[in-house]
């Protein structure tokens, strides 16, 4: 369920002044302004919130958090919306979600992220063979400097710190427990 209640609780004192929008470097690219998005959260309008791409454009610069006259944790609220979208596989967040999810999968497997592996996982997840071209120029540059090598996902290698399975499992266990609390 796309529950935004805990986010609403964080924003209760929003006075709709628009300072957040004014400070946001990505406001131009967003379909709803941050102020408008917060209004939708305050009105429990889950459909509008998750049809919008606004939260997916937040680049976590913390300007709005710094400047909000009510001192509201706005960057955190944006991240919480991303998390709800990720967990509910919201369509507009699928590309970003696949990116973050692949990254964390590589961390779970190896303890540290292997940049080449997580990019490969991401391309596989998106099932879009054209997507790698978005990165082609940067990927080639990094490869020519011997900084990354593109490889297929694999098991553990000697470099990582072993996998973080147990910690990842515990995290989901606690999250499920909290979700079931009334």
């Amino acid at each position: 369920m796309k529950d935004t209640g805990s986010i609403k609780a964080l924003l209760a004192t929003c006075m709709q002044c628009g300072t957040c929008t004014g400070t946001c470097p990505n406001a131009d690219a967003m379909d709803l302004t941050p102020r408008h998005l917060w209004r939708m959260v305050l009105m429990d309008r889950a459909d509008e919130i998750f049809e919008s791409q606004t939260f997916a454009y937040c680049s976590t610069c913390y300007f709005c958090t710094l400047k909000c006259p009510r001192g509201l944790p706005l960057t955190r609220a944006m991240s919480m919306l991303k998390e709800v979208a990720y967990k509910n596989d919201v369509k507009t967040f699928r590309k970003s979600g696949a990116f973050y999810g692949s990254f964390m999968e590589s961390v779970r497997r190896h303890g540290r992220v292997r940049e080449s592996e997580f990019m490969t996982l991401y391309f596989l997840e998106m099932k879009n063979p054209l997507l790698p071209f978005d990165f082609a120029s940067l990927g080639l540059k990094l490869m020519s400097k011997n900084k990354v090598s593109f490889s297929l996902p694999s098991g553990a290698d000697g470099r990582g710190q072993g996998n973080l399975d147990r910690i990842f499992k515990k995290v989901s266990e606690i999250e499920n427990r909290e979700e079931q609390m009334p």
Partner: protein, 286 residues
């Protein structure tokens, strides 16, 4: 002096020159670094959208490992994204007991416990405030006279925890640049956002932010950064952004310890200047 050191994943791969130059400069300053044994990823910018709890547990694991080495100590973190993640745990540990209990429960899986006895510090904070421009100046053997530098701070070393600099108009790099004999070139983009991981998921929006920064850097010889994500965004897309803008936006982009190292007479090889994606002859000729 000595510090516990958390390099983070980028410093093993795409930002290997940041790691090498940080270690080289610290060595030259007689500062010892003790790398956290068995450190793992801090979650970068990817954990928070996937799971808020995980975004606390991953950095907490590293701080707990660090506490096993030393207590009441500073942990030096060069990557701003890692810094913020670790700092967030340091702050939340004090302020949010329920989060703290969930973190403990997860860490217990690996028989770890977080006491909250360490201080998380950004490399820039340590350079500017513990070491200071005077000590750097004493070690300078090759003044970088005439080199015009714009300091780029980015977001996450300044906000939301403005612990060592002004979060909107930061200045902490300036005395360090001047100590090298270089010039601080005036601009107002030092605290603006480079788009961070939007470069991967929302490329056109991030590209616009980077373009604005590169345009403002015109006239400077190099942008100096203190974060691998900022560095990669500013150095990695210059050709395509120049094409889009219809003007040449190319500029050298180097890490702060690379600049300091150059002035301290540390070799280019040791500072790994050949690993940067955008370094012009002019900078290399110093």
């Amino acid at each position: 002096m000595s510090y516990i050191y958390y390099p983070g994943c980028s410093l093993e791969a795409s930002a290997i020159e940041y790691d090498a130059s940080t270690r080289a400069v610290m060595h030259a300053l007689d500062i010892e670094l003790a790398e956290i044994e068995g450190w793992s990823c801090c979650g970068a910018t990817a954990a928070e959208p996937v799971s808020s709890l995980l975004s606390f547990v991953l950095p907490a694991r590293n701080l707990a490992l660090a506490e096993k080495m030393k207590q009441n100590f500073s942990v030096m973190v060069p990557c701003s994204a890692c810094y913020l993640n670790l700092k967030k745990v340091e702050m939340e540990k004090k302020q949010n007991p329920s989060m703290s209990a969930s973190i403990d429960e997860c860490l217990a899986e690996e028989a770890l416990k977080l006491e909250g006895k360490l201080k998380v510090r950004h490399l820039l904070d340590i350079l500017a405030n513990d070491i200071g421009a005077d000590q750097i100046k004493n070690k300078v053997t090759k003044k970088l006279s005439g080199l015009k530098i714009v300091p780029y701070y980015g977001c996450q070393c300044l906000r939301p925890y403005p612990v060592f600099d002004d979060p909107e108009e930061p200045r902490s790099m300036e005395p360090l640049i001047e100590a090298c004999g270089a010039e601080v070139f005036p601009w107002d983009m030092g605290a603006q956002c480079c788009g961070a991981s939007n470069m991967n998921t929302k490329k056109s929006a991030a590209g616009k932010l980077v373009q604005k920064i590169l345009k403002s850097a015109k006239g400077a010889d190099a942008i100096v950064t203190v974060c691998p994500m900022c560095q990669l965004n500013l150095e990695g897309f210059q050709e395509e952004l120049s094409r889009k803008a219809g003007e040449d936006l190319s500029v050298s982009v180097i890490y702060l310890p690379q600049l300091l190292g150059m002035a301290m007479g540390i070799s280019r090889e040791e500072l790994m200047l050949h690993k940067n994606l955008a370094v012009k002859e002019l900078v290399l000729s110093y």
